[in-house]
Symmetry: C2
Subunit: 193 residues, 2 copies
DNA sequence: GCCGAAACGGAGTCTATACTCGGCTTCAGA
DNA sequence: TCTGAAGCCGAGTATAGACTCCGTTTCGGC
């Protein structure tokens, strides 16, 4: 007998379906970034110029759509971070990374979910894992270059990152407040002067 | 003609009503602390051993109940902080305060709402204002004692406090992680060594 | 104990939002 | 162009949670 074939298998989509899928992903990215994961499917469909039914035809649940967006975002973050780790100056790359994450988090409300989510779904597990490993590389590089204290571990770095990213979401602060806050954290990370 | 009298005016409650009111407040405190402001009224009523109707008889909306709880909490925090500012050693009181806020926040999910809520409702505005002023006093005391850099302002202290309290909510971290994270922040706040 | 007012309880209403269903439209291969 | 399968749509369903309504119960002054 023929083996069970899930309907979602990698079939060739009709042109209109392909176009709508792309529109839905683009709309979802914007809406989730602006309003966070609680944004309604209705709004995403409206923004995509599509009926709700079409959204659910492409993604079986809202959660699946969110995961697709988070997966993309995680991939982009991981790639950016890896290239920074590869090409950047180890002495400063770690701080550049930290700052850019905080700025991204203030702009797109989904960043924090990747960092803080307790239950990492399978769909984003791989890029998130890469991201975490790359953070460790950046940290180790900065420690070797002497710009971060040797006894700092990645666990507290990630905790601080989550904290500052969260804080950046609340009452989107003035740019100089962000700078002053980050400079305190960075001073705490640096070796004793 | 008689002036309009809101039904909620400070009338003497019947004994059963007084008892239920106290039970509802106690239940709401526990439930909100454990699950955050999103906890359902149903659950609070169940925990209080009371019907939902009774909850709404005492508090017109869920929001009003939450505000009552937040008000109490803000009052307690403000009082504790003020006594620390009055009696504690200025050199260490600020750090003691910061640590205890983070510990409280990890235990009771409502603490963060007092700090981070963008729109401070009238019911909690006064104690929250007192708390903020007292934080400034603690900060100023530590700066005079030379344990915090003179150029640090209260805005970034509160931002850091919000951040670390938020981080403490996610995946309730091991005690030594909290210590290591706080020690980085505290090092950043201290004058150059 | 009696009685009216106060308070209680929880089924029912209303609203928001995820998700379904089936008739209609569009695509693409012949 | 014709046709059937693929895809679209949005009214409809299901569920959760805030809040209401009113018949029932309890309190407390006489």
């Amino acid at each position: 007998m023929a083996p069970y074939e899930p309907a979602t298998a990698g079939r060739t989509l009709r042109s209109d379906a392909r176009r709508n899928r792309a529109r839905i992903l683009a709309a979802a990215e914007q809406v989730f970034a602006a309003k966070g994961p609680a944004a309604s499917t209705e709004e995403i469909a409206r923004r995509a110029g599509v009926g709700v039914g079409t959204v659910f035809r492409h993604f079986p649940t809202k959660e699946a759509l969110l995961q697709a967006i988070l997966g993309e975002l995680a991939g982009r973050l991981a790639a950016d971070t890896e290239s920074l780790a590869r090409d950047g100056d180890p002495a400063t790359a770690f701080f550049t990374f930290f700052t850019s994450m905080v700025e991204r988090s203030a702009r797109t409300k989904t960043v924090i979910d990747l960092l803080a989510e307790a239950d990492i779904p399978i769909t984003v597990a791989k890029p998130v894992e890469t991201l975490r490993r790359t953070i460790e590389d950046l940290l180790a590089g900065a420690q070797r270059a002497g710009t971060v204290r040797a006894d700092v571990r990645s666990a507290e770095v990630i905790a601080l990152l989550i904290g500052v990213c969260q804080a950046a979401l609340y009452a989107d602060w003035a740019p100089d407040l962000q700078d002053r806050t980050l400079s305190i954290v960075f001073d705490g990370l640096r070796p004793s002067r």
